[in-house]
């Protein structure tokens, strides 16, 4: 059983699934949905089995397999996971079925907030599955070249998801997303090649195998350049301030499912990259640049939190909160302690769940009100208590309330960073006040107060009272406005995430047990913790 090539299957299954879904005849949307859901659940099962097969006391990289791919470049199709990658795979496994479930509805509201009359639903599911395959590949690759290939190729499905199924400014957002990531990726490509060249001169044979590259002794000057090459790509992906402005646009224009995967998983590649590639491969450069990175991280925490408060568009707001959270993750990684880095990895998972849920409920709200403007809502809790409740849970998880999963990770990041970086940690801790502010402000404005705004409009054709300009192209909902609260399907979609938020908030130790060995190995690559 444990001999199964789990990782290869996790890439191949959704890829084949995508092809199957794409090949279905037009109009068979229901079948496409079912196939997509089935495939994504299968991937989840595989991920869980892989986690079961993983031995926390064993080798760092497990479930490894390797095939020569491009011999001339020294490239192998090498897969393997450590604890860090494994938890990300689990996250992918959980989020994709949830996203597919959330996009189940026939009408436009099911996918996003825009009319999708001309677009075929099956294309959406095909892209989602392809994206899943790419995401698995990024985390499972143990060959830097292979990582890079997935890193870039991943852009394509997301580009189409945003561009074809997004909001009114989807074209702008899609191109912006693609170009930002591409610029970063290309700079990284230069560094990847540089790394290869170094390996060529030191090992006598160029290689991209992570384990071999880890053993290189790179000249500090070269290290700095290579570090920057990788770092910029990851900083754009993560994103850190000031490379962040693509995310609010992409996050707000993407269909909800795309947005969830974008901030939930895709952006984690950036922080994952810091930990997997920047630190172990360029330890000296990492130390050299750490103060600067920490400045970016902490500035991002505070800056993005303040910006989140200033947003009137809910999806943009959530996107900004994510930027703030990515600051925490970066802080945890560049504090160079096992506790903080473990916390950062857990943060990556938890943020995927919490912000994923937040995006989902925001999407469900938007599907009802056809507006992304906070000002168009008010008093929703009175009409849709379940929706409000789930919204609150997501919000509380986002502000890292104890008892929710995010608390554990944020706490770990901060407590782990404090010994080495007290000043930055104190500043970052102030960010938790801002987190409470932006979440509660949004919650109060939308859910509390007397019912008002778009939800009171009986006739969907009537123009909206506020924000009409921006919402003019939003699709008319097909469901009755009277049915405001979450229905069974929506509950089924959010329930797993809510459950995970609570369970991981109370008992995170299994995940920590998976993560810690890999983090310790990273820290020892770095030359021991800096304490």
């Amino acid at each position: 059983m444990s001999d199964l090539p789990f990782l290869l299957l996790m890439i191949a299954v959704p890829a084949v699934g995508a092809a199957v879904v794409a090949a279905l005849p037009r109009g068979r949307d229901q079948l496409a949905r079912q196939v997509a859901l089935g495939v994504s659940l299968l991937v989840l099962v595989l991920a869980v089995l892989a986690a079961v097969a993983f031995d926390t006391a064993g080798e760092r990289f497990q479930l490894t397999s390797s095939w020569t791919w491009i011999a001339d470049f020294g490239v192998s199709f090498a897969l393997g996971v450590d604890g860090i990658a494994l938890v990300m795979l689990l996250l992918i496994g959980v989020l994709v079925p949830v996203v597919i479930g959330a996009s189940w509805q026939d009408d436009a509201a099911g996918i996003g907030d825009v009319a999708t009359d001309k677009r075929s639903m099956k294309a959406y599911f095909a892209w989602l599955l392809l994206l899943e395959a790419m995401m698995v590949g990024v985390f499972a690759a143990t060959d830097v070249f292979l990582f890079y290939v997935f890193f870039e190729a991943m852009l394509v499905p997301m580009y189409f998801i945003i561009g074809s199924f997004g909001g009114p400014r989807r074209q702008y957002a899609a191109v912006k997303f693609f170009l930002y990531s591409l610029v970063g990726g290309l700079i990284m490509l230069a560094a990847v090649i540089g790394l290869y060249v170094v390996s060529n001169s030191q090992l006598g044979e160029g290689t991209f195998a992570f384990d071999a590259l880890r053993g290189l002794e790179i000249d500090p000057g070269v290290q700095k350049l290579l570090f920057l090459g990788f770092f910029i790509a990851f900083a754009i992906k993560a994103p850190l301030v000031p490379f962040h402005t693509w995310l609010p646009d992409s996050g707000s224009e993407a269909p909800i499912g795309g947005a969830v995967l974008l901030v939930g998983v895709l952006d984690k590649v950036g922080t994952f990259g810091f930990l997997r590639y920047c630190l172990p491969l360029f330890p000296d450069a990492s130390r050299f640049f750490a103060p600067y990175v920490l400045v970016l991280a902490v500035a991002g925490i505070l800056y993005a939190a303040l910006l989140a408060m200033g947003q009137s568009d809910m999806k943009r707001l959530v996107a900004y909160t994510s930027i703030s959270h990515f600051g925490f993750i970066a802080l945890g990684i560049f504090a160079f302690t096992t506790e903080a880095a473990t916390g950062a990895v857990l943060y990556m998972v938890n943020h995927g769940i919490a912000t994923g849920l937040l995006f989902l409920v925001v999407g469900m709200l938007i599907a009802r009100g056809r507006s992304r403007q906070i000002g168009d809502y008010g008093g929703v809790a009175a009409k849709a208590p379940l929706l409000a409740g789930v919204f609150l849970v997501a919000g509380l998880a986002s502000l890292a309330l104890p008892g929710t999963n995010s608390f554990v990770s944020e706490f770990l990041v901060l407590i782990g960073s404090f010994p080495t970086q007290p000043v930055f940690t104190i500043l970052a801790t102030a960010g938790i006040i801002l987190a409470a502010l932006y979440i509660l402000l949004m919650y109060q404005r939308t859910m509390h107060g007397p019912p008002r705004g778009v939800l009171l409009q009986e006739d969907p054709a009537e123009p909206l009272p506020a924000g009409g300009g921006a919402t003019a192209t939003l699709a008319a909902p097909t469901r009755s406005l009277r049915v405001l609260d979450l229905d069974r399907r929506e509950l089924a979609v959010v329930a797993p995430l809510v459950a995970l938020i609570i369970v991981l908030g109370v008992y995170p130790q299994p995940l920590l047990g998976l993560i810690e060995p890999a983090v310790s190995a990273t820290m020892s690559d770095l030359g021991g913790t800096a304490r």
């Binding site: 491009i70 870039e152 190729a153 191109v175 693609f178 700079i187 230069a190 090649i193 540089g194």
Partner: protein, 512 residues
């Protein structure tokens, strides 16, 4: 007693094949009845190119200098000849497509008839086809193959003319928009001749400096006295002539105009094959003849590479005509190719040669495919090359849009396409030679260039189709074959490039 030069007929077989086919084509043009001439011409030309391709493949591994030292038969030359022959054959298939244009050909029936005259209007609707293009193209292909094999400057010059003259002619033979086509031909001709003059003057100066035009002699002379002003000036002028053919900025100005005006199959032919031939000649000239004076021209190539990438990428941003956009893309790609030239390293031991050759093959296939898609999208009688006409193509014809998107992504260098493998190879070569700033500029330029490729995808996929949009022609067998081969190759060279890279690696040898 004059000694007859040694002629290794076997080694010359590819050239003999294609030139023979071209000559037969001329005879067919003269004597074969008009109504069945077209299939015969197509067959002859295809036999020539495919035969040449097969010959080069059979010759793989041989290394010799023949024809009195005028021709080099070596791995690199054969690889490039094979590339040219293969791409040439595909281009000829595009020439032969008869089901897209209502008048059953992309070429004007009688180039001599003034555009817009009553006779011209009459011929416009006739189904008489122009068949002179096939022997002309065959000659051009032969010239290109000769170009990459030339081992002395004179042969190189002759090959340059042999490849150029037919191209001048056939770029003026478009059936639709003849004014543009003729203008393109005039511009191409005048500027091409102008560039030839530079090349020739360079040749003369090098001859004066070294007393020979043989590469090996130049090599030893430049080794002895690399700083001879005459020699350096000669090199400069030779390079100018070659950079012109390769459409490297600042010698690129003709490219957009000619690419736009020429009949699309011809543009495809030029973009794919001429590029290969020109770079073959550049590589050979720089590494065989001037390899020992590498330090003189390296900064120059470095510089023009940067200029070319930036000019191509930046100017491409605001283009509204697809053919013109692809022309600027070709200028940018010329810059990327030059990074591979830099990556050859001193004496050509670097991986740059193999990388450049692979890149040429990948780029040629991709760009040929892109132009082939262009021929499908038609409005009225002509091709719809304006960007706005492509809006919403994906909902009208998903397959065509998908294929085009594939080519565009490959041109942008997205992984899992041939374009990425090629870029990776040349950038690796450049960085290995320490030219990482150049590679960095190249990467940033490709990010800029990606914008205009993406714009087309945005239009095709994310925009709603215009009411009076273009129609998507159903390609006949030739175009279908071209599209199938180029698309498959674009994907295959992206996913499993190993064997082709191996071949390029083994072939990366110059004799001389």
């Amino acid at each position: 007693m004059i000694e007859a030069p040694d002629l290794s007929l076997a080694a010359l077989a590819p050239l003999l094949f294609i030139f023979g086919a071209a000559c037969v084509g001329v005879l067919v043009e003269a004597f074969w009845p008009r109504d069945t001439r077209h299939p015969v011409q197509v067959s002859v030309a295809l036999v020539g190119t495919v035969g040449a391709l097969v010959c080069t493949l059979l010759l793989a591994g041989s290394r010799e200098i023949t024809a009195g030292g005028a021709l080099a038969v070596d791995g690199a030359g054969l690889f490039l000849q094979a590339t040219i022959a293969g791409l040439g054959a595909l281009s000829l298939l595009l020439f032969a497509e008869r089901s897209l244009d209502p008048a059953r050909s992309a070429f004007v029936t009688s180039a001599a008839v003034p555009a817009g005259s009553p006779r011209d209007r009459e011929l416009l609707t006739s189904t008489r086809v122009q068949t002179e293009v096939y022997p002309l193209a065959s000659f051009a292909i032969g010239g290109m193959m000769l170009f990459t094999a030339a081992n002395d400057l004179l042969i190189m010059f002759v090959a340059l003319e042999v490849l150029s003259l037919p191209l001048y002619l056939i770029s003026g033979m478009a059936r639709r928009r003849r004014l543009l086509s003729q203008e393109a031909a005039v511009k191409y001709f005048l500027l091409g001749a102008f560039a030839s003059a530079f090349f020739l003057y360079g040749l003369a100066l090098v001859y004066g400096a070294t007393g020979s035009v043989r590469f090996s002699d130049i090599r030893s002379a430049s080794l002895a006295d690399g700083t001879d002003i005459l020699l350096v000036l000669g090199l400069a002028l030779l390079v100018v002539g070659l950079l012109f053919k390769a459409s490297v900025a600042p010698f690129h100005t003709w490219t957009p105009d000619v690419y736009q005006g020429a009949p699309t199959p011809v543009t495809a032919f030029m973009a794919a094959c001429t590029k290969v031939a020109a770079f073959g000649a550049i590589l050979r000239l720089l590494y065989v003849a001037f390899g020992t004076a590498e330090w003189t021209w390296r900064p120059l190539v470095y510089g023009v590479a940067i200029v070319s990438m930036i000019v191509g990428a930046v100017l491409g941003l605001t283009q509204t005509d697809l053919k013109r956009m692809l022309a600027y893309s070709s200028i940018a790609h010329a810059g990327f190719l030059l990074t591979g030239v830099i990556g050859l390293g001193a004496g050509g031991e670097g991986s740059g040669l193999a990388a450049t050759m692979f890149y040429l093959l990948a780029y040629g296939l991709t760009t040929l495919g892109a132009f082939a898609v262009l021929t499908l999208i038609r409005v009225g009688d002509g091709e719809a090359t304006h960007l706005s006409q492509w809006a919403g193509l994906a909902s009208r014809s998903p397959l065509v849009a998908a294929v085009m998107a594939l080519f565009l992504l490959a041109l942008a260098g997205i992984p899992l396409t041939a374009g990425f493998t090629g870029k990776f190879a040349v950038f690796r070569a450049a960085i290995e030679e320490g030219a990482w700033p150049l590679a960095l500029v190249a990467l940033l330029a490709s990010a800029v260039a990606a914008f205009f490729y993406l714009r087309v995808i945005v239009l095709m996929y994310f925009s709603s189709p215009a009411a009076d949009g273009p129609t998507v022609g159903v390609p006949g067998l030739p175009t279908t074959i071209v599209l199938a081969i180029t698309a498959t190759a674009t994907v295959a060279l992206g996913i499993v490039p190993g064997s082709v890279l191996d071949v390029a690696e083994q072939a990366a040898i110059f004799v001389g």
